[in-house]
């Protein structure tokens, strides 16, 4: 059964693998909208912050005046799925949506990129995860819940309707996190 949210899922499309997220959302029966400017955020029911280069995306957010609108969207309860660079964007030193500090390229350069099965609390069977020059969460503030670890490092964090992971579900055909996002959006839109 497809889940049909009443509002589009925004996908930040300044740079990175946003097209893969858009495809996944559409496969699951959702409507996706690429977000490049603050106007694109109006009326979205959920948001994906995709992988890419976090410095490039941060400069783009500055150039477009997107920082404040993104913070407001998060504060107003718009569900968010953030992957890899998206996780970095949410930390204290970037959009400061989540009280945590992400360590960039924490697993090392590209030769240390890897894939592995990871278990996330609340998502059942292990997910196949692809880690590309991935970050981990080095400091976790009060009220934030670590829901997954790899080699002792936090790689997934949940705070209400916000889910941030250090890996790429979209590169391994993993649909559970996007399904979760669309469910959250449906709940909000009611």
């Amino acid at each position: 059964m497809n889940l049909v949210p009443r509002t589009p899922v925004g996908v930040l499309a300044l740079q990175g693998d946003f097209a893969a997220h858009r495809c996944l959302i559409e496969q699951l029966g959702g409507e996706a909208r690429e977000v490049r400017t603050p106007e694109d955020l109006v009326g979205i029911g959920a948001l994906v912050l995709p992988g890419g280069e976090s410095t490039t995306m941060t400069l783009g957010i500055e150039r477009e005046g997107l920082a404040q609108p993104l913070r407001e969207a998060a504060a107003s309860g718009v569900p968010i799925l953030a992957t890899c660079a998206g996780l970095i964007l949410l930390d204290r030193e970037h959009l400061a949506v989540l009280d945590m500090r992400a360590e960039r390229n924490a697993f090392g350069r590209q030769v240390r990129s890897f894939e592995a099965d990871v278990t996330l609390d609340g998502f059942g069977e292990p997910l196949h995860a692809v880690f590309i020059r991935a970050p981990w969460v080095a400091e976790l503030g009060a009220g934030l819940e670590s829901i997954g670890e790899v080699e002792g490092h936090v790689i997934a964090v949940r705070s209400g309707p916000i889910l941030a992971v250090a890996f790429h579900p979209e590169l391994a055909g993993e649909t559970r996190l996007h399904r979760w996002l669309i469910e959250q959006a449906t709940a909000v839109a009611v």
């Binding site: 300044l14 740079q15 990175g16 693998d17 992988g51 280069e53 783009g60 890899c84 030769v111 990129s113």
Partner: protein
Amino acid sequence: MRDEATFRVKAGLAEMLKGGVIMDVVDAGQARVAEEAGACAVMALERVPADIRRDGGVARMSDPAMIRGIQQAVSIPVMAKARIGHFAEAQVLEALEVDYIDESEVLTPADESNHIDKWLFKVPFVCGATSLGEALRRIGEGAAMIRSKGEAGTGDIVEAVRHLRAIGGEIRRIATLEPGELAGAAKDLRAPLDLVRSVARDGRLPVVLFCAGGIATPADASLVMQLGAEGVFVGSGIFKSEDPAARARAIVEATTHFADPERVAAASEGLGAAMASLETRKLAEEQLLAPRGW
């Protein structure tokens, strides 16, 4: 269990570079300018293609000390070039842990018959192509990313357009064929049949396709993105222009907003002079870089 250097991991980094601009840099200072302008990666090399053209002689892999300096200066991915077929240069670049190796026709080829066996490496490779067959031959050898070759160091976009249109047109044609016609198509393309089947099924290359060679303006970036490139390499176009930082920012902006002419127009304003350019049609045969490799 943890698997490193799988093809998915190699091709995955290219997925993360999409919609971005990869800039040629020759030192740490330029690398910082590129990063601060929004480059999604830098290509470390000793001389940009325009200077290689001007100086002549054999163009080789860069000094490892220069590559290390750039790796220390920026946090974005660092790529570096090896000569076509020069697997020992590629081994050195892997030892330096560069994030991507460009087996590049911009450097003087080391082997006229064989490209590098890229399956042997943990570091992913990007390779140039002028046609679908060439792209699939490189992917068959292990390339995890393709860039259309264009004609590097000219500031002339015409070859990049020719190569992108050739690749895109051939993909569209393959996608119309019946399954029984694909082996014949693979023979004509001189490409592995399994990869031809993958193109026919998906209507696209099995890896990310960027454009390189001749991009000098924001409108050039918009043009090639509209022709199907998923991101751009800019070589001489930035640091051989009058105001590199402004031009770099403008090309990044135009790559994001490639489908919005008003944004491309705004990005194009007041950038000063573009690089000194060469018209490709007026170059002698032996000055062309794109025919290197097969």
